[in-house]
Amino acid sequence: VDLQEFRTELDRFLDARADELAPPFEGRGTLDDQMDQIAKVRRLTFDAGFARRGWPDSVGGLGGTSLMRAYLAEAVTYRHLVEPGLYSMPEVLGPTFITFARPELTAEMVPKLLRGDEVWCQGFSEPDAGSNLGSLTCRAERDGDGWRVTGQKVWTSLAQHSQRCVLLTRTGSVESAHRGITALFVDMDSPGITVRPIWTVHGTDEFAEVFFDGTFVPDSRMLGAEGQGWTIAMDLLPYERSTALWQRAAHLHRRLQDLLDQAPLGALDPTAVGDVALTVAAFRARSRSTQHRMAAGEPLGAETSIDKVLLATSEQALYDVVADALVTEVTTGDDLDSDRWRSEFLYSRAASIYGGSAEIQRNIIANRLLDLGRDR
């Protein structure tokens, strides 16, 4: 099956099963609604074979190019079937997990993730280790044939919905910085885990604090070797800025079209609309070339920081126009549409913060793409 055939077949499937795939709720729904909807869309597209394309046989996939994954994400986003930020987690965790987990573990676990039977979360950030991830302190101490984890994570998206967590732990001394970090794959129902959801400004509790109090994780759940956690984190970060961002670009296009559909006569400033259309189109063109490099097997690296900067710029530019053109919806409207625009406007402010802040991305670009030498 080539990409063109895949697109045609998938589009036909999504049209034919539109009623079944549609969200059973109106508006943006609660987080539980959104998660149930995502699980349903994953299950239906997995069972029909579409969500298995672009993944290797060894994890229940059907082979083919990663462009098929990108198109699937785009298609379900453009049709308003899923909340894009919540949907993209397998694209972030999947590829690195497959590279570093034992083959038996990937064969057992990844199909559950792809089919929507499970949700996984990413335990990276800590209260004192945000931009400076290498300073993390959540400890894992050797205990027989496994590890005892004690410490805290924060900004862990969907922790309360997750069955598993890809967790970065400190196994060396704190001074060992990025060398003394080990990645573990933790069952979220293990004893000693407490999850406290955090309410965000955009009106959801999609992320959480996670507390570990002597939680046991067997050696069989190590990802890579002891001390390889930093390598794993560095491998994973570019995936946060690849397929997930292609999906985000599709979402922004869709919402720009929705804005054109909904804005009252005279509310749209042509120059502002033209400018944001250019920005979103250029972001999509940039992300497209990243999708193709990934599909060609090229390693992704620091250049994906450009994609992330473009996402933040595009998303905030779009919602700045929304705030001016849909004044009532964003400020005082109490209907479901207004709730959605308002929530999305507020969420857009996070685009330059999550997944490496705008400043961190610029540091990466300066260090690694422009080779500007040491900073002060």
Binding site: L260, R374, R376
Partner: protein
């Protein structure tokens, strides 16, 4: 072109643009087979030459050939082509044909003045002669250079070697012909060439600013170690890559709208590069002892040709607001 052919082509074009400019570069392009490449693989020929030309700050009359190609006009690869371009800030056909002859307000890159090389100039014109048809149509007419007032433009960038072309009541050679392709197709391909050239000029501005930041020592350290400077340069790289992605994407569907988007993005991002690079280069970048100003001048002029970024942005926006319909998505 396959991968190896393209690399070889790219290397030789880059070498030519960095050592020659103007008439000399025109000659080298003919020797290198660039006009043939334009007719067989326009995307590669245009992308490679115009990015290289933008990077090197060199000029040629290739833009005339590009528009001829876009209009579907037959061109002899061995002889210079000359097609009049619209004045800066406009994109309508530069000629108006009426009962009293041809009026021209436009620009040219080919050597028209003091040269016997070009024997005929093509002008795309709106035909207002009511004896020939009802309404206005777009035609192409041929005129002798002797019918045109031609003046070298100094302006912000005398180095670009643009010529101003004017005529009132000029007598065309032969009857007006229909444009084989379309004027909007010609404009689209011109905009893509200009977008590539803007990307090239922006890349050089970034290179110059980066070199300065790494070499220039203040407070005992290279100024490249200061985050304020690093972030300006990082922003510039984002700008350059945004413009490059926009123009590469436009070749995939090659519609007038995608070419407009590519040029508008490239112009906008070149302004970003100009601003940041000038600031990083500070005092020296404000003098003619440093090359930055050459690229700033070039970028300003390239942005103005076929509509500035701001004009095109407003045009696109007005269209979107009127139709309430985004152009088709760039497919994966």
């Amino acid at each position: 072109m396959d991968h190896d052919e393209r690399e070889l082509f790219e290397r030789s074009i880059r070498a030519a643009t960095s050592t020659a400019s103007g008439a000399e570069l025109d000659e080298q392009l003919v020797e290198l087979g660039w006009p043939e490449a334009l007719s067989t693989d326009a995307a590669t020929a245009i992308a490679v030459l115009f990015e290289a030309q933008g990077k090197a700050g060199s000029t040629s009359s290739a833009l005339d050939r590009v528009v001829a190609h876009g209009l579907g006009l037959p061109v002899d690869p061995g002889r210079p082509a000359s097609v009049v371009l619209p004045p800066v800030g406009t994109w309508e056909p530069p000629g108006q044909l009426g009962a009293d002859g041809l009026r021209v307000r436009g620009l040219a890159t080919a050597p028209l003045a003091g040269s016997t090389q070009v024997e005929a100039v093509e002008v795309v014109a709106t035909d207002h002669d009511s004896t020939r048809q009802v309404g206005v149509r777009t035609v192409v007419v041929t005129v002798s250079p002797s019918e045109l007032d031609v003046r070298p433009i100094e302006g912000v960038d005398p180095g670009m070697g643009l010529l101003e072309v004017r005529a009132d009541g000029a007598r065309p050679i032969g009857p007006p012909r229909a444009v084989p392709a379309s004027w909007s197709g010609g404009v689209a391909i011109l905009r893509l060439a200009l977008a590539h050239e803007l990307v090239g000029a922006s890349r050089t501005m970034l290179r110059l600013a980066r070199e300065h930041a790494v070499d220039r020592v203040q407070f005992g350290v290279p100024i490249a170690s200061f985050q304020a400077v690093r972030h300006r340069l990082a922003e510039t790289l984002v700008a350059v890559e945004t413009a490059a992605a926009g123009v590469d994407g436009a070749w995939l569907d090659l519609t007038p709208t995608s070419a407009l988007v590519a040029k508008a993005v490239a112009g906008r991002e070149a302004r970003v590069a100009m601003k940041h690079c000038q600031q990083v280069l500070a005092g020296i970048g404000f003098t003619t002892e440093h090359d930055l100003h050459l690229y700033v001048r070039r970028a300003l002029l390239l942005d103005a040709l076929l509509g500035t970024s701001k004009q095109l942005t407003r045009l696109l926006g007005a269209e979107l607001v009127a139709t309430r319909r985004l152009p088709p998505l760039l497919p994966l």
